[in-house]
């Protein structure tokens, strides 16, 4: 299948981002950018600061230094609510689903920012509240269909196997109709078949829904196959940035990452 996706302008860029926790440096002077509609991977050995970077992007962590340019706006940091509001959604490395809720409800939570009803109307389940609930249910169902999880629609997520939980979490993120999707090790702990499925979903999301994807992954092979550009971090520093081929042949990367058996 040939790719006809168009990669657009820079939507998000980081300049000299530094982050530390109580004196421990997690990120040092990181700069890179993300272009519209691309699949951007952040890779690196364990403890390289990949997750921290993702947390900076959607405002969970606030960097001490540096600047973020998001859709032309210059800012010191992001905050979680605003970034959600402006179309950044994410998944987590250690699945962070709402365990007591069903798959459907989990995905519905992803739609909360699109809901306008207030709690009084909700309580009455009347008029707009009811209409809205049904309308969003339809959207949620489309995502369920897209991710092929129809058979577990009403199962509490706590009872699902790991691979499916990952998929549901992706579903919850997709429910927000994000323009930028952050995926924190989407394929960690999966078997080959599950990985293939997840890859297909990621490509489909990127391709059909047009979302920009920033993903962290441990599995080099997969990343190289699906990403447009790759940033490599090591000990909180950027050591390479470029197309998969460039990165693969970069000596720093080979030393820091590929050379090390893991």
């Amino acid at each position: 299948m040939d790719k006809v996706r168009k990669i657009g302008d820079v939507v998000l860029s980081f300049e000299n981002i530094s982050l530390s926790f109580g004196g421990v440096k997690a990120l040092t002077n990181i700069s890179f950018d993300v272009r519209e509609h691309e699949i951007r991977a952040i890779i690196g050995p364990n403890g390289a600061g990949k997750s921290s970077m993702l947390n900076v992007i959607n405002g969970v962590y606030h960097p001490q230094d540096g600047e973020i340019v998001f859709r032309g706006q210059h800012r010191r940091d992001m905050n979680t609510y605003e970034s959600a509001k402006s179309g950044i959604a994410r998944t987590f490395q250690n699945i962070a689903l709402f365990k007591g809720m069903s798959v459907l409800d989990n995905i519905m939570t992803g739609r909360n920012l699109k809901m306008k009803s207030n709690f009084l109307l909700d309580a009455l389940y009347w008029g707009p509240a009811r209409r809205e609930e049904i309308e969003h249910r339809k959207k949620a169902e489309e995502i369920i269909d897209f991710l092929e999880i129809q058979h577990i629609r009403k199962t509490p997520v706590g009872r699902l196997p790991y691979g499916l939980q990952k998929r549901v979490e992706l579903g919850r993120a997709l429910a927000a109709e994000p323009s930028i999707l952050l995926l924190d090790e989407p394929m960690a702990g999966m078997n080959v078949e599950e990985k293939q499925d997840m890859c297909r979903f990621i490509l489909d999301v990127n391709d059909q829904l047009g979302a920009t994807i920033v993903l962290i992954e441990h599995d080099m092979g997969v990343v190289m196959d699906i990403s447009d550009r790759v940033v490599v971090l090591d000990y909180g520093k950027k050591i390479a940035d470029g197309t998969p081929d460039e990165v693969r042949n970069n000596q720093n990367v080979i030393d820091a990452y590929l050379g090390v058996a893991h």
Binding site: F21, N55, V60, F92, N94, A96
Partner: protein, 297 residues
């Protein structure tokens, strides 16, 4: 001014008692991650058992050690029946379980000994110390002072026990990391049993001191409620926190009651420590000496 100090000292002296009870909490919290709401009931139970045995004709020298044995048995039973099955549960479930436990222990105490108020005479009179009265014209209760003395000794002993003995260090290991504690070969159950027994001992001492002053009655269970703000203030995991917190709460509560009370009709003791602790909490959620919690995702 004299009066202020009189109140302050009385407050600090009762604060030592709070520290003692709070220490019981800290002990258990550190070792098993349980906020033991039943600590107050244990105080009540211990005091009632001691005085009950005493009333049956046993001397205090016999009834108190006997009560201690009962407390150890109780501690072991609690560990086996309540804690062990709940080991992997969230903290909040354990907390609620101790609320249930407190009801159970209170019911048990009353079922065995009846609900009547019993007097306990330790042979210490609750009279002002004469020489202080003469020298500084302040009324400092002899009883309070002795009680505080006993409590101080106990607090100090426990603090040392924590930091110096092998078991104490083991306890800290458990508090830091259950897995690590297991790997150095200390059975978790043993540690819990010991900790709860020690907590039972603390409860017994506190019960005797308090009981002999106000009579052994159901109100003793409220001691636990008093200790709660102490813990919030001092931090759930800190021994010095419990001591300092107890003193602060004891002193401020008395001061508030005496100096603020008249304006609002009294009875501040019930809630003032809480509001104080709460305000403090908003500024420093981990308490004075507690460890900062970093949220990870």
């Amino acid at each position: 001014m004299q009066f202020f100090f009189e109140v302050l000292i009385a407050g600090l002296l009762s604060g030592v008692m709070y520290s003692l009870v709070a220490l019981g909490f800290v002990l258990i919290y550190k070792a098993s991650g349980v906020f033991n709401f039943a600590q107050g009931s244990m105080v009540y139970f211990a005091a009632l058992t001691a005085v009950g045995l005493h009333d049956k004709g046993l001397s205090l020298w016999l009834s108190v050690p006997l009560t201690m044995v009962v407390m150890v048995v109780l501690a072991l039973l609690i560990e086996k029946i309540v804690l062990r099955p709940l080991v992997a549960q969230p903290e909040i479930s354990l907390f609620m379980a101790t609320i249930g436990l407190s009801f159970f222990i209170e019911g048990l105490a009353q079922a065995i000994w009846g609900a009547n108020v019993r007097a306990l005479d330790l042979g210490i009179e609750d009279v002002p110390l004469e020489w202080v009265l003469e020298k500084a014209n302040m009324a400092i209760s002899q009883f309070d002072l002795i009680a505080a003395g006993i409590a101080t000794v106990l607090v100090a002993t426990l603090a040392l026990f924590f930091s110096r003995t092998k078991i104490g260090r083991a306890l800290r290991a458990v508090a830091d990391d259950h897995q690590a504690a297991l790997s150095i070969g200390i059975p978790l159950q043993h540690i819990w049993g010991i900790v709860w027994s020690v907590a039972g001992f603390v409860a017994l001492v506190a019960g005797l001191l308090w009981g002999s002053r106000n009579g052994v009655q159901f109100a003793l269970t409220f001691v636990a409620l008093k200790a709660l703000p102490v813990l919030i203030l001092g931090g759930f995991t800190s021994v010095p926190g419990a001591i300092v917190g107890g003193l602060i709460i004891g002193a401020s509560e008395k001061l508030a009651e005496v100096f603020l009370g008249p304006y609002v009709g009294g009875g501040l003791e019930g809630w003032f420590p809480y509001v104080l602790a709460l305000l403090f909490l908003l500024i420093r959620p981990e308490g004075l000496f507690g460890e900062k919690i970093i949220r990870r995702i």
